[in-house]
């Protein structure tokens, strides 16, 4: 849709992405594509052991190759500051903490020469025994101090053991989710250039300031000496949130060839070793209920993995703390620290694996209690957030379940497994809830300039990782300025614009949007107060910081959703197909109906992918992911994605932020895998508690 929006009426409209035409023409400049003079190309050296040290490195053959400019190793690498981050402090000694870790790089005039010469570098290791075995019965599991996003690792309300002991209906089962790797279309890419002690990074990042703030201290620089430019990003799913070692490697290499830009894009293989991934999880869920099906105990005990060189603790159990009503709730998290790459964010860290287990268990418990799984959820709806004790700013789960049931045609469902078939296909349906917190991140500022011709320029160092931010931020600013969308020009994705948080935790619109609203108000006030309501000939500008939201202390803030899935399972082969999914979301005010739909859809498909396909297979003998390409690591093809019915309910939440919006980037993936698994159970009578649900788990 390109029709002009009336002034003040942009928010909510299905406006097409402003940069869409650039993208379809290939004219949008992604990180690797910036044209700079005489670039050099980097190909990394990656460790082929998982634990030990580089004993000897002989680069003479590589250095002799035509086109090779330099070989970077720990022997000649510039020194980095010790910031206490072993993932990023690469090449400072020969230590190796995981297989695939960067131990050097070849820099050459062409990509091909760099890649070929990298194979000529001879490396000898002193190898130590590899421990990459992720098991729940290890004797060295430990409780981390805190989980990702600052959550408590262990929580307990009431007396779970007592409640379980006396429950009329008890349920106890263990679910596992596999290691999964973020694989945005655009792999991580950088161009690094040094000029008189200042570093410019053309980056593919979820946050230019996150990159700046992480990279600058490593090189002993003040933040403003690192310039980060990232106008377009081909996806990240969390893996481009916090910078990984690839950025450091490019910057170190560029120091060796001072003045010459160094280009480095990860290959798809490398995406499976150095760019973060989702930890595998083992979750023991225990539920207790009275004879009517009212929950009395909810418990999720989580075991997950981290790297010995740097801790990352996924908040897998947190959704069990607030999802359903119970006087007794307990969650725990234990970590196994292994000789493996460092896990990190992958779309909905915590909620995605946690809600697979909880929502599968809720389905199983509904069956135990002889209740419809929709009604079972509704009857266990809490009145407040049991973790914080605060009321919800809005909670649309019941509305989503009801609306979804209606759209999907849930009523009259025969609960008996294997009750419907179509030829050799067993047909089943399943439901699951979804949730995602409304996060907001600090450190945002924006500047808006008004010109006398009535045009506005809005600057903020925000990111568009394919989500539509270029467009949605313009809509928010236009409405608050009271002008039409076409009169607002956005400037984002560069540290030359005011400070901003990154695209992560579905917090972008809340954080950046609140800031823009504040800046727009200041500008209007300024025009009113200082210029009598008219924009002066020389133009006028105003800046603002993100205001504090006083309601954060008063309310618990979450978005909710419900997924309904039909699954078909071939009785002979165990092949699963999902012809349709209906998902309904309650996510506050929707800023752009078109880009929002894409966000929900992407999340739902990623949940389907987690349910049926994705699994990174780590060979514990070698310590690396052996199915490290798209032929072996499966994601859905178009043929795997059926009809997607996506909608949302009207939700007026005056507390979350000035727009009344909630983040929507992650909620689509939460719960969708459980809905698929529940439908597969209903179709076949086989409960698969280990994702992904591949044919081998259903064949008999």
């Amino acid at each position: 849709m390109t029709a002009t929006q009336a002034p003040g009426k942009s928010v909510g409209a299905p406006i097409s992405r402003v940069e869409g035409h650039l993208k379809v023409r290939g004219a949008a400049t992604y990180a690797y594509e910036h044209r700079l003079d005489e670039p050099a190309y980097l190909h990394p050296l990656q460790s082929t052991i998982a634990n030990g040290r580089v004993a000897k490195i002989d680069a003479s053959r590589a250095e002799a190759e035509p086109g090779v400019v330099a070989v970077l190793t720990h022997e000649n690498a510039p020194k980095l500051e010790a910031v206490g981050d072993a993932e990023l402090e690469i090449l400072q000694n020969g230590e190796v903490g995981f297989r695939g870790q960067f131990i050097g790089a070849v820099i050459a005039d062409t990509f091909e020469a760099a890649r070929y010469a990298a194979g000529l570098v001879e490396i000898e290791y002193e190898e130590r025994e590899t421990d990459a075995d992720f098991r729940p019965d290890r004797d060295d599991l430990y409780t981390p101090e805190q989980l990702n996003a600052g959550f408590e690792p262990d929580t307990s309300v009431g007396d779970v053991d007592g409640a379980l002991a006396s429950a009329a209906v008890k349920f106890d089962a263990t679910y596992t989710t596999p290691r999964e790797h973020n694989n945005p279309m655009e792999p991580h890419s950088s161009i690094a250039v040094w000029d008189e002690g200042e570093l410019t990074l053309y980056e593919s990042t979820q946050g230019v300031y996150w990159t700046q703030n992480t990279i600058a201290p490593l090189f002993g620089l003040d933040a403003e000496k690192v310039h980060v430019i990232s106008p377009h990003v081909g996806g990240g799913f969390g893996s481009k949130g916090l910078p990984h070692a690839n950025v450091v490697l490019a910057a170190l290499a560029a120091m060796l060839v001072e003045g010459r830009p160094v280009k480095f894009a990860l290959t798809r293989h490398m995406m499976f070793s150095v760019a973060g991934y989702r930890t595998p999880t083992i979750q023991r869920i225990r539920l207790g209920a009275d004879a009517e099906g009212k929950l009395s105990a909810i418990c999720n005990d989580v075991v997950e993995q981290t790297s010995k060189i740097k801790e990352f603790a996924e908040q897998t159990g947190t959704s069990a703390r607030m999802m359903y009503d119970s006087s007794n709730i307990q969650t725990t998290h234990l970590l196994a620290a292994l000789d493996v790459a460092v896990p990190s964010w992958l779309r909905a860290p915590g909620e995605a694996p946690g809600m697979f287990a909880l929502e599968s268990a809720m389905d199983e418990m509904a069956i135990e209690c002889d209740l419809d799984p929709v009604e079972f959820r509704i009857m266990n709806e809490p009145e407040k957030d049991l973790e914080s004790g605060l009321p919800f700013s809005s909670r649309g789960l019941v509305a989503c379940l009801r609306e979804g049931a209606e759209r999907f045609g849930w009523d009259g469902r025969n609960p008996t497994p294997r009750s419907e078939r179509d030829g050799r296909w067993l047909v089943g349906t399943g439901v699951a809830s979804s949730v995602y917190p409304v996060f907001s991140m600090g450190g945002n500022a924006a500047t808006i300039r008004a010109d006398s011709d009535g045009k506005y320029v809005v600057e903020i160092g925000a990111a568009d990782i394919g989500t539509g931010t270029w467009t949605t931020l313009g809509q928010i600013a236009a409405d608050e300025l009271g002008v039409s969308f076409e009169d607002v020009e956005m400037k984002i994705g560069d540290t030359k614009f005011p400070n901003a948080s990154g695209a992560g935790g579905s917090s972008g619109i809340t954080s950046w949007g609140s800031t823009l609203v504040e800046a727009a108000r200041s500008l209007r006030e300024k025009i009113e107060a200082e210029h009598g309501g008219n924009i002066p000939d020389e133009g006028v500008e105003a800046s603002a910081k993100m205001p504090k939201n006083p309601h954060r202390k008063e309310y618990a803030m979450y978005a909710f959703g419900a997924h309904f899935v039909e699954a078909r399972v071939d009785e002979d082969t165990g092949e699963v197909r999902v012809p349709r999914m209906t998902s309904v979301f309650a996510a506050g005010r929707i800023i752009n109906a078109k880009t929002a739909r894409s966000q929900f859809m992407g999340g739902m498909v990623m949940g389907l992918s987690a349910a049926l396909h994705e699994e990174s297979v780590l060979d514990t003998r070698f310590g690396h992911v052996v199915n490290h390409d798209f032929a072996e690591y499966h994601i859905p093809t178009n043929a795997d994605v059926g009809e997607l019915d996506i909608s949302w309910i009207e939700e007026d939440d005056p507390y979350v932020n000035p727009m009344g919006s909630k983040g929507i980037g992650e909620i689509g993936i939460v719960g969708s895998a459980a809905a698929v698994a529940n439908a597969v159970y209903h179709a076949t009578g086989t409960r698969v508690r280990e994702l992904p649900i591949t044919p081998d788990k259903l064949i008999s």
């Binding site: 091909e112 049926l612 060979d619 032929a631 093809t637 081998d696």
Partner: protein, 329 residues
């Protein structure tokens, strides 16, 4: 990737002699497999001799009622050919179930037979693999072997052959015509691919520099009643976990003749001769199909992660045979 030379020969004999003095050289068909393997450092030819233009890209009916397929025929053309679709539907279905439209446009009939295993350790030069580096050991034996062989493997290699097309060709009794340093050969498809034994580095019986120039499908009265069924982990664009190609001649409820081949279970397209023997002359019934399939699979030796392939292969055989016999529901 190792630097290499690219050459084109004038004709078939030129191509063969071009490789005679190049022990590390290779032919180039569509390049969809060998070029990938070169990027991975798995194949390291000094020279690629492009043979695509030298060989026929025609599909012709032969005097005896069979069909002759030039080795340069792209997979997509072969799948779409009206004669193949009506008289050998299993072959067309097998081709269409493989790879993607773009790949099938590039891939040649000759190259398809000779694509190499998708074993992850074979494709990764940092892990031991007897097929890639004889004597280094087989990483799959005690590793990730979910997709590996259940029949005919050895302690040296448990890889499977990945081609869908070749499985259909095996069920259709195809012959592969080659020209090599020692002249012309006509090889029954059954003999083209090898079991690994103690020489897993050799996928086929072809000699260095031996060029596949054509494939011949003999006349088979009942090949029009043939089918290919591929089981995979997603709806499209994935290699077979198990596949079945079968053709059946049924009269008055009795199996007069039958051909069955399995994919995804062995180092070569696996012709299920025991199933065929057990069924010839027997009445059509699901029980008989199941019993026959079980005889074939009684020798299966699954690995740590692929025991599921035994019931899967059985079920897919039963289902495909039932469908062909008109007994399927």
């Amino acid at each position: 990737m190792k630097p290499y030379r690219y050459e084109r020969a004038e004709d078939i004999s030129g191509a063969i002699s071009a490789l005679a003095d190049e022990p590390e050289g290779a032919f180039l068909g569509g390049g969809t497999n060998i070029v990938d393997l070169m990027k991975l450092g798995v194949s390291t030819p000094d020279v690629l001799v492009d043979v695509r233009r030298l060989m026929s890209d025609d599909i012709e009916e032969t005097e005896d009622g069979g069909v002759r397929i030039g080795a340069a025929v792209p997979n997509s053309d072969l799948a779409a050919d009206p004669t193949i679709r009506t008289r050998y539907p299993a072959l067309s279905e097998a081709l269409l179930s493989g790879a993607s439209g773009q790949l099938r446009n590039m891939a040649t009939t000759g190259g398809n037979f000779l694509q190499r295993t998708r074993c992850v350790y074979f494709q990764d030069t940092t892990t031991p693999c007897n097929k890639r580096e004889p004597g280094s050991g087989c990483s799959a034996l005690d590793g990730y072997n979910k997709n590996h062989a259940i029949l005919g493997s050895s302690e040296h290699c448990v890889a499977t052959h990945p081609s869908d097309m070749a499985v259909a060709m095996a069920a259709l009794d195809a012959f592969v015509v080659t020209h090599g340093p020692n002249g012309e050969r006509r090889i029954p498809i059954e003999e083209l691919h090898r079991l690994p034994g103690d020489e897993p580095e050799r996928d086929t019986i072809l000699e260095h520099g031996e060029l596949i120039t054509a494939v011949e499908l003999p006349p088979m009265g009942f090949s029009s009643n043939s089918k290919y069924r591929k089981v995979r982990e997603r709806a499209s664009y994935a290699f077979a976990l198990v596949s079945v190609a079968a053709a059946m001649d049924v009269e008055d409820g009795v199996v007069r003749d039958v051909r069955v081949a399995l994919g995804g279970v062995a180092h070569k397209p696996w012709r299920a001769t025991k199933v065929e023997e057990a069924l010839r002359g027997e009445p059509v019934s699901e029980e008989n199909f199941r019993a026959a399939a079980e005889i074939e699979l009684s020798e299966a030796e699954p690995l740590s992660e692929n025991a599921y392939k035994v019931p899967l292969a059985r079920n897919v055989m039963v289902r495909t045979l039932s469908d062909l016999s008109g007994e399927g529901r």
